[in-house]
């Protein structure tokens, strides 16, 4: 019986031909589904494609009717493109990698309306995580309220107790750390006690005082020299240990000083807590600015942080294998694990795209633009170069007078470095509800500037909004009762803030953010905040200052003793260790000098005549 059935080759070839035909018929649909799936996963909102055409032998793919939903506004598209023609690298396709050499875009439009919502019922794991993290961050940003209702009442500090204040916990933690440090140093000091070495050095020095080579003879001088060298070695080793302990103590004290600084911050937080409890906010310009524009700042920063986080997820640093959800199929999809390798193609790479686009119509986006992007990849470490992009408006038919965006996302090294600079001027921005004023702030013609710099796990940046012709629209009922409202009540505060801001036309708001990229800390400053702060200080400043002093006094009466004790413990420890280590160091230094003098004395045959120098012995 033969092993092979050669006559089956013809039907097999026919079957293969049928499969190739089937693949050709369905390839376009597969590409479309793949683009929609990957796009939706990455953006976190629906991405739709009208059609796709793959011309394998020309290594060309043409996508038509692309709509990318804005995840922040699901009834509008972030971008809509009539046609995208991409030239691919055929060899890379054999490794199932998409390397786009060139790309041409036609019919680009931004912010177009959608007929149906593009929100996802169940967002992908990655974008869902990013969205939830951003929501958590938005909720955690402390936006103070201008609630002054505590002014009219007798301050009740019953809620301010030792259990509710963080200073006490910080003080206890600091004392515990200081005690741990003292224990560790006592152990080290015992282990490296220099007294035996010092005693040996003293005895030897006394024995050899006044002796020289002439008196001791050759053998006696040799033995004496060996003894001095041995003890000198011990003294030097002891000095090295004490120096190491001094350095360790300096490092540990720096950390304890940080703890002491944290103690001061905790006390400040306790003051704020006490004031919140009795409903008296801080009237400083930064706090009032945050109260007025905090929510707006969070809303404006959210999209920036969202796209940074998405880039973080889909273009991670390093070349570690990474599992991603596989495209859906009839059977269970499972996970696709990517295995990036340096000096090869990444899974996706757009080498360079350059576009000059003219958008017609009468909306704000109409005008001419020039944009380029290079190094868009899912595996930056494999590609080995940063993603760079820039866009500017070269001519405006309508809308912004100036639009300039440039940036760099560098994940090719282990420490990420992102930098973005954007400027848009002469554009109408979404209005913001200013609850403290019971009003809405409209920016019909403003300028926005975003500067962001991220290195590693730290990020810093500013978002500035300015407009010389804002409109304030009162949203709270401007009742006549506001004037007669009790001092510090909500209507009273709203009326005061409204009176202050209603005539302000020139508004500048600067949001500074810093810290972790996924949850930065915010600081807001504004000329409006300054004006409102001034007005509040004039009206209720004295009263607020009195209540604040009471609150500080109450907090100090509870935490003062423990905080002072913690500080005293820290100072005592520092002083004690420095004194002891300093004394040991001095004694060892003296002993070393004494031993070195004995060495010199032994080198003299008769006083004033030196022997040739002997080799030094160091243990």
């Amino acid at each position: 019986m033969k092993l092979f059935r050669w006559k089956a080759i013809v039907p097999l070839v026919l079957v293969l031909a049928l499969l190739v035909l089937g693949w050709t018929l369905y390839a376009d649909r597969l590409v479309r589904k793949l683009v929609e799936f990957v796009g939706t996963e990455v953006v976190g909102a629906t991405v739709e494609l009208a059609s796709a055409r793959l011309e394998l032998f020309q290594a060309k793919v043409t996508l038509r009717g692309l709509q990318v939903t804005n995840p922040d506004a699901p009834m509008s598209n972030l971008v809509q493109m009539g046609e995208i023609v991409a030239q691919l690298d055929l060899l890379a396709l054999l490794e199932k990698k998409v390397v786009v050499d060139t790309v041409a875009l036609r019919g680009v439009r931004f912010g177009t309306a959608r007929r149906t919502s593009g929100a996802l019922r169940e967002p992908s794991a990655a974008t869902g995580l990013v969205t939830n993290r951003l929501l958590d961050w938005a909720h955690s940003v402390p936006v103070p309220s201008l609630d002054l209702s505590g002014l009219g009442r007798v301050a009740d500090f019953a809620g301010v107790s030792a259990d509710s204040l963080t200073s006490i916990r910080e003080a206890r933690a600091l004392v515990a750390r200081a005690d741990t440090m003292r224990g560790a140093f006592e152990r080290d000091l015992r282990a490296s006690d220099p007294r035996p070495t010092l005693d040996s050095a003293r005895l030897l020095a006394a024995r050899l005082r006044g002796a020289n080579a002439g008196q001791l003879g050759v053998q006696g001088t040799g033995e004496a020299l060996a003894s001095v060298q041995r003890v000198l070695g011990q003294v030097r080793a002891s000095r090295d240990r004490v120096t190491a302990l001094q350095q360790q103590a300096a490092t540990d004290f720096t950390q304890l000083q940080d703890g002491a600084a944290a103690l001061e911050r905790a006390r400040q937080a306790d003051y704020d807590y006490a004031l919140r409890l009795i409903r008296v906010p801080s009237l400083t310009t930064p706090d009032v600015s945050m109260a007025l524009f905090g929510e707006m700042a969070v809303a404006r920063l959210k999209p920036v942080l969202y796209w940074l986080s998405v880039a973080e997820h889909y273009a991670p640093a390093g070349v570690k294998p990474r599992p991603d959800p596989a495209p859906p199929r009839t059977r269970m999809a499972g996970l696709n694990v990517r295995f990036p390798k340096e000096h090869t193609w990444p899974s996706f790479l757009l080498r360079h795209a350059d576009a000059s686009v003219t958008l017609g119509g009468e909306n704000a986006a109409a005008g001419s633009y020039r944009a380029w992007v290079s190094g868009v990849t899912t595996e930056p470490a494999v590609y080995g170069a940063p993603l760079r992009f820039a866009m500017e408006r070269t001519a405006a038919a309508m809308g912004p007078r100036q639009l300039r965006v440039a940036g760099l996302l560098d994940r090719s090294r282990s420490e990420p470095h992102d930098s973005v600079d954007a400027l848009v001027s002469g554009v109408s921005f979404p209005s913001a509800d200013i609850k403290a004023a019971g009003a809405r702030l409209e920016f019909p013609d403003g300028t926005v500037r975003l500067a962001l710099d991220r290195r590693g796990e730290g990020m810093a940046g500013t978002l500035s909004l300015s407009s010389a012709a804002v409109r304030w629209v009162r949203t709270s009922p401007d009742s006549a009762t506001a004037a007669a409202a009790p001092l510090g009540s909500k209507p009273w505060v709203e009326a005061l803030v409204w009176r202050t801001v209603a005539s302000v036309r020139d508004v500048e708001v600067e949001v500074r953010f810093s810290g972790r990229p996924d949850a930065p800390q915010l600081e807001v400053s504004s000329n409006v905040g300054s004006a409102v702060s001034g007005a509040l200080q004039r009206e209720v400043g004295a009263e607020v200052a009195k209540v604040q002093a009471e609150a500080r006094g109450r907090v100090d009466s509870i935490v003062g003793r423990q905080v002072a004790a913690a500080r005293a413990r820290l100072t005592a420890l520092q002083s004690d260790l420095q004194t002891r280590l300093g004394a040991q160091q001095q004694q060892l230094q003296d002993a070393q000098a004494e031993m070195e003098q004995r060495l010199r004395d032994l080198g003299q045959v008769v006083p004033g005549v030196r022997l040739p120098s002997l080799p030094r012995i160091r243990p």
């Binding site: 097999l12 490794e95 269970m332 499972g334 295995f339």
Partner: protein, 173 residues
Amino acid sequence: MLFLKLLQSLVSTLNSEGTPRQIAAGFALGAALGLTPLVNVHNLVVLALACLLNVSFGAFLLGWTVFVPLGFALDPLFHPIGLALLQAPSLTGFWTTLANTPGVPLTNFNNSVVLGSFVSWLVLWLPIFFVARWLVVRYRVHIFERLKKTRVFKAVAASKLYNYFTMLRPDWR
């Protein structure tokens, strides 16, 4: 209808002139198509082997049919197996080399379900082969003689499908 065709296929295969070993080999090869996700390059290789090697093609189709529902049912088991293999630190270098070798990534080996099911099939290939061979031998010795006299068997043997299968049966030259 599907059940009848399956029955017809089963009867035709078991009673073909192929040896139990050829039938069992075809059946075990067919299990690959059923156990692993169909649209993958490795299944083309399995199909080519089933056509070119002197195994029972009927048994191959039967194996495919029988193992399709099993494949769907066992996917939740294949996924962790595949993922464990793909994430095993000792194999990372091997997978990285494969993933960057032209042509190999088209097999979708980096998918947890594909790899898990394929490895499971490789492990199960011999057990399936031996069990199938034992069953065919038992069937021919104990059941076939009685079944041959039944009307159902005669109807199946006379059908067009039976003729189609005999075209690709093992002793077809």
